[in-house]
Amino acid sequence: MEAATATRAPAVPAWRTNLATIAALVARAKNELLRVPGAAIPGVLAPTIFFLGLNGVFGSLIHLNGFGVSSYESFIVPVSMLQGAGFTGAAAGVNLARDYEQGWVDRLLVSPAPRWVLLGGNVLAASARAFVPATFVLAIGFLIGVQWPGLDGLVVCYLMVAAMAAVAACWGSMLALHYKSQSAAPLMQAGMMALVLLTPAYAPLELLQPWLEKVANINPVTNVIEAARQGFIGSVTWHDTWPGLLAVTGLLALLGALALREMRRTNV
């Protein structure tokens, strides 16, 4: 008995095991990106097409009285970056549904890892992956004349992109675990698309149609868009930043709790 106690390895603290599990799940997503790069192409292409397309189609809106911005590409680029984050996060939900259909989630659920750790790995992986479409769209943007947002503007924008991807991943994971099928994919994508675009995405609040102005005023993502956009069309201020931070925190808390509830309800 004494000998057995003496040879037992020291217990690893729970937080370290949890951190290692999250890191392993993030690494799995990274491997998927490196081994099947083609799978990332639609997530990169869609926001890029929207960015170039919207700029080509609606670029002359800057001539409207009250628009107040001289470069439509600078005005629209953060929207496309956030749209890319939304698509990436929703794709994390689709991948989770695929993993469920193929039995991988079952294996995770019988492991001793807490549910929040499993969700956290998926959500953090989505945040990291969102940098790929965002950087691609921004690079294209700089090529066609997007203004340099300053280092602070860039940091705030990328922070919003990562947070929006996490929000979208929580939303996608919640639906994936509820419906347990990839058939829910359109709902994941449409939900995020609506959340990002029912905002002053195309034009300033004052120029939106009255119904959309009302919706945009109560949509928390409006604050996220305005925080991400500020460096591209002016200077970065705390006044325009904190509402965005508050909005993503609230959305993360709400959708994270709902996704966790679905994960706890999921039985093997």
Binding site: G56, F58, L61, M193, Y202, L207
Partner: protein
């Protein structure tokens, strides 16, 4: 029963099957209904002030202007969804069973196109209904609405032909699904969402020659102004060109599939 009547029965049966298939799978129906409706609402609300720009054609509202673009988007995505469903049939061996049965080969493609045409018809009715519910006028009246519906339905067959050709040639649903962004590119590079004169270069010049601009103008004219011969004839010519291309490519891909298995 004559060979033609037998072929028509097969086309009807396969067309009905493809419609049921689309309405049963959210992945197939949502691009046709959910995304274009969402974008119509967002673009109308977000860019609606654009009608005040100098050079914008006289319209009752931006919603009225946008209806044709949304119908086009829905119709093109119906063609893409039809191609995906056809490729799934090929992957699962259903098409091989049809090839082995005593039915005309052309009926297999025409059946799929009949289903796509029905979805195009549905898309045009859906967006006309949305327009009317939210107060858009159809300036061309009933004849104008019927013309818009006919042009969209015919376009669905034309675009569906290209989707069917790619499905037959590749036999892969993921390849056809990969064309989804291309649909968006073609739409953004046409006058589907904004007047071509007000677009930014190089989109403006490309839109001038994009055959889908001719179709969308043919559909838009009866909605915002009234029935006119020139845009209608240009739309018919563009549809005929795409239809010939789609059917030609489908016939070639079908022969290739039958030869190689």
């Amino acid at each position: 029963m004559s060979e033609l009547a037998s072929g028509a029965r097969v086309v009807r049966a396969l067309g009905a099957r493809s419609i049921r298939q689309t309405f049963r799978r959210p992945q197939l129906i949502s691009p046709i209904v959910v995304f274009p409706t969402l974008l119509l609402a967002i673009q109308t609300g977000g860019a609606g002030a654009g009608i005040e720009l100098p050079g914008f054609p006289p319209v009752q509202s931006f919603l009225q202007f946008m209806l044709a673009g949304s119908m086009m988007q829905s119709m093109m995505l119906a063609g893409n969804s039809g191609g995906i469903a056809f490729a799934v049939d090929i992957e699962m061996g259903f098409t091989d069973r049809l090839f082995a049965s005593p039915i005309p080969r052309f009926a297999i493609v025409l059946g799929r196109l009949a289903g796509t045409a029905a979805l195009g018809l549905f898309a045009s009715l859906w967006f006309l209904a949305i327009g009317l519910i939210f107060g858009a006028h159809i300036e061309g009246g009933v004849p104008g609405a019927l013309l818009a519906i006919a042009l969209i339905t015919a376009s669905a067959i034309a675009v569906g032909g290209i989707g069917a050709a790619i499905a037959l040639r590749t036999g892969s649903a993921s390849v056809v699904q990969g064309l989804f962004p291309l649909v968006l590119v073609v739409l953004f590079l046409s006058s589907a969402f904004f007047p071509q004169e007000l677009m930014i270069e190089p989109a403006k010049t490309i839109a001038e020659y994009n055959p889908f601009s001719f179709i969308v103008e043919g559909v838009r004219e009866p909605i915002i102004s009234g029935v006119e011969a020139r845009p209608t004839l240009e739309a018919v010519a563009a549809i005929a060109g795409i239809l010939l291309l789609g059917l030609g490519l489908s016939a070639r891909a079908l022969r290739h599939r039958l030869r190689t298995g």
